[in-house]
């Protein structure tokens, strides 16, 4: 059994990984931290992502221990610089 989430990369992180979006399969019960580990475990370029990035799940800031479900949109949020 597995789930599928949609990851989204912005700004600096998009430049680092070379992608805007990526579908990722994870085991049921996986958290944001598991997603980060899965991606970084793929090696370059994903291992250039930080181990504790800010993330938003379905457009709301989330903690690394938040549990994910199929269809969730998980955005990697580089340090923000609006204004």
């Amino acid at each position: 059994m597995s789930i599928s989430v949609n990851t989204v990369f912005f700004a600096l992180y998009r430049d680092l990984v070379g992608e805007s979006t990526l579908a990722v399969d994870l085991p049921v019960g996986a958290t944001v931290a598991d997603l980060v580990e899965e991606l970084r475990g793929r090696g370059a370029p994903f291992d250039s992502l930080p181990t504790d990035p800010a993330v938003a799940v379905n457009q709301t800031y989330a903690m690394l221990d938040e549990r994910l479900g199929t269809g969730d949109e998980v955005a990697f949020i580089p340090p923000v610089a609006g204004g």
Binding site: A11, D52, A56, T60, G82, G83
Partner: protein
């Protein structure tokens, strides 16, 4: 939770910002003070000459987050008389990137709410900017990690 319905006007998008019009959205016969704050692309950063700026955003989330910020500010302000816009896309030097308009019966509340909105935008709004320098190079502006995210997952980490 702040009441989102109280916010008059709140927008993230590529449209040029008309700050005079924004200010005209607030104000009432009960108000003795109004403030307009504008953020503008300036021609220098860290001693380098800047020719322009590109604002990227996670636009749907930015619209939601800006709406939350505005609602929190309205709660502090005690009235719904505030309006805020953030522009995205390519901007030239001198163009307005963000504008905030607030009014209130007394001045202290307007100053407080305006300041709250711009400080929270800087901390939380999922917007990023790339500076273009006169020498032809460019770089992402160093930002601020949003609060309350990226926290360790357990006692051992």
């Amino acid at each position: 939770m702040a009441d989102l319905s109280r916010v008059i006007h709140c927008h993230v998008g590529p449209e040029e910002i008309n700050s005079t019009k924004l200010l005209s959205r607030v104000g009432s016969d009960e108000d003795g003070a109004a403030i307009l704050f504008i953020g503008v692309v300036r021609n220098h950063a860290d001693g380098r000459s800047v020719s322009g700026m590109r604002y990227d955003s996670y636009i749907d989330m930015a619209q939601r987050e800006l709406t939350s910020i505005a609602a929190e500010a309205a709660e502090r302000l005690g009235t719904d008389r505030l309006a805020v816009e953030h522009r995205i896309g390519e901007l030239h030097v001198g163009e307005i990137s963000v504008a905030i308009a607030v009014s209130s019966p007394h001045r202290a509340e307007s100053f407080d709410a305006t300041r709250y909105i711009i400080e929270e935008i800087k901390k939380r709004l999922p917007v990023w900017k790339k500076e273009y320098y006169e020498d032809g190079t460019d770089s992402w502006v160093e930002g601020t990690p949003p609060p309350g995210t990226g926290a360790p997952t357990g006692a051992g980490s």
